[in-house]
């Protein structure tokens, strides 16, 4: 049996709750999503619901993103209004059908996604021979997982958010650019 000393514990959010930053047109909303039943991206991609429920919610103006102006025990976000969701850890961005490492053999692409307010730079990993255009055109998912990503407020490039994963709302994306040669993995 492995000896788990107290020092090996992880100090994290309560099990089943995921803290994320949701970037909207004018606001940064930080809150907890209940992911006990389903991962965040699966909830965002669920077309049977237009809304996402949050707990322990904090509101900041996007141009002053460190200010905690208002807080609420709970809030509901309209999914279409979300430009991107920033997650600290990559694995928190995966869907139920994916597992960490399931991308083995896939091809990473360095990309830039532009919405009306943000520029998201990072990496998407696609099966071999997948054309980037099909990611937009297929429309199978609303949100795209971009790893090792940074979302920059276009009008204030000094304001940026980094995450192990950023889930980008494809409905908000106006341009999707490949920024580098394809990497082989």
């Amino acid at each position: 049996m492995t000896d788990i000393t107290p020092k090996d514990q992880e100090i994290a959010q309560p099990r089943g709750l995921l803290t994320a930053d949701f970037l909207l047109e004018s606001d940064r909303i930080s809150g907890q999503v209940n992911v006990r039943a389903r991962p965040l991206i699966d909830q965002l991609d669920d077309t049977t619901s237009s809304f996402l429920d949050l707990e322990d919610v904090y509101l900041s103006p996007i141009t002053r993103p460190s200010e905690l102006n208002q807080s609420f025990p709970a809030a509901t976000l309209r999914k279409t209004a979300i430009h991107a969701a920033v997650l600290t850890r990559f694995e928190d961005g995966l869907s139920r059908h994916q597992a960490y490492g399931s991308y083995l053999g896939h091809i990473p692409h360095d990309v830039l996604l532009i919405t009306s307010r943000y520029q998201v730079r990072g990496r998407v990993v696609l099966p071999p021979k997948t054309q980037l255009q099909t990611v937009i055109a297929a429309g199978t998912t609303r949100f795209l997982l971009v790893s090792e990503a940074t979302a920059t407020l276009t009008e204030h490039p000094e304001i940026s958010f980094a995450g192990g994963a950023i889930l980008v709302n494809m409905e908000q994306v106006t341009a999707f650019c490949e920024t580098d040669e394809t990497h082989s993995s």
């Binding site: 107290p6 020092k7 514990q9 959010q13 322990d56 304001i159 995450g163």
Partner: protein, 387 residues
């Protein structure tokens, strides 16, 4: 040796319990607060060795808790560790600018958290008293630097000595008064990250030692164009100096800029210096009104200095105009000009022998007012030993 105490301010009760258990296992005494105001009160009254604070709390954010702690002398030197789910670099920067010493974002390993707490507890505030005195006038030429230099030389006799900080941006006069040619000054911090992450290790190299043992954080020798030091850096500097010295004396610039306001926020005592002439009394009134209603207001002591032999306003008129009593008065001392020219302040001359100049006696009164019980009477008596 008593156990080190850690105060945890966190609105998530489960997280509080987890941290309590973990810290107690490591031998810490743990104090808990699930509400911001409760945590703020506990931090100021209990003065723990380390404060762990969350940022996202409903009634008052962790940023505000930190700012309020740093604005109060009782919390100015408390080591503060932010533990939060907000992982963005801009949040880290904002927390450090507000006055936090360290920042960890969840998820974090317990090992890393404990190492950080141990590190902060190890450099926790000195148990010996430490006092920050700011001397300020919004009008130049009323003798602020003279009083600051002499006061610092006297308070240097305290157990852990004193440091004199020259915050003036126009080629500070402190070095001139002490005949110092410092090679280091705070100007090297301009343009650096705020506050510099390695300020604690940089601090000794920024100080110049006077022959009396007094340490000086000098101003740049040439005029600083644009802004001087920002709030976060001044706060960090003064916290670092509190750890090293019994007294930190700040010769503030004659304006309420960021650096001055940060120093005032850290001050245990503010000596508002003026000469009994119309313009100086007017600017003192302006300063008092600017500080009215702030925590700084109650720490202000009025000091009437006489840099010239004849001054037009009487004490009664001055007090009437300012609407409050003048606590300390410094007489004109004709030897002051010579002392300045020689780079030998009058307090230093008094120690060296000979009669005690009037200004040195007045500075002793100021020292007693400032230090109160914190300075041994014998330390102050040494100023009289040559009488």
């Amino acid at each position: 040796m008593s156990a080190r105490t850690i105060l945890v301010i966190e609105d998530d009760v489960n997280m509080l319990q987890l941290l309590q258990l973990m810290l107690q296992r490591q031998g810490f005494e743990v104090s808990l607060a699930s509400r911001s105001q409760e945590g703020l009160d506990k931090a100021l009254n209990e003065r723990p060795d380390v404060v762990i604070v969350d940022l996202m709390m409903p009634e008052m954010s962790g940023f505000e808790v930190i700012r309020r702690l740093r604005a109060d002398p009782r919390g100015a030197d408390l080591p503060i560790l932010v533990l939060t789910a907000r992982a963005q670099p801009l949040d880290r920067k904002a927390a450090l600018a507000a006055g936090a010493d360290a920042y960890l974002s969840k998820p974090v390993s317990a090992r890393m958290l404990l190492e950080k707490v141990e590190e902060l507890a190890a450099r926790a505030r000195p148990k010996q008293p430490s006092h920050v005195v700011v001397l300020l006038s919004l009008r130049g030429g009323v003798g602020v630097t003279t009083l600051a230099v002499n006061l610092a030389l006297l308070l240097q006799r305290a157990p852990r000595g004193a440091c004199l900080v020259d915050l003036n941006r126009s080629g500070g006069q402190v070095s001139l008064s002490l005949k110092l040619s410092p090679t280091a000054h705070w100007g090297t911090l301009l343009g650096a990250a705020s506050p510099p992450s390695d300020l604690r290790s940089l601090l000794p190299d920024l100080l110049t030692r006077h022959e009396s043992g007094l340490h000086v954080l000098a101003a740049p020798p040439e005029a600083v164009q644009g802004e001087g030091l920002d709030k976060a850096t001044v706060r960090a500097l003064l916290r670092g100096l509190r750890e090293r010295f019994s007294f930190t004396i700040v010769d503030a610039a004659p304006l309420l800029d960021e650096a001055t306001m940060a120093a005032l926020g850290q001050a245990d005592t503010v000596l508002l210096v003026f000469a009994p002439e119309v313009a100086a009394v007017h600017s003192t009134g302006v300063a008092l009104r600017a500080l009215a209603g702030t925590p700084v207001e109650r720490r202000v002591t009025l000091v009437m200095n006489h840099p010239a032999p004849v001054q037009p306003l009487s004490l009664a008129i001055v007090e009437q105009r300012l609407g409050r009593p003048v606590t300390l008065s410094v007489p004109f001392d004709e030897q002051q000009m010579l002392a300045l020219a020689r780079g030998m302040p009058l307090v230093a001359r008094a120690s060296a022998g000979g009669s005690v100049p009037p200004l040195a006696k007045a500075v002793r009164d100021i020292a007693v007012h400032v230090a109160g019980f914190k300075l041994q009477t014998s330390d102050l008596r040494s100023a009289d030993s040559s009488q």
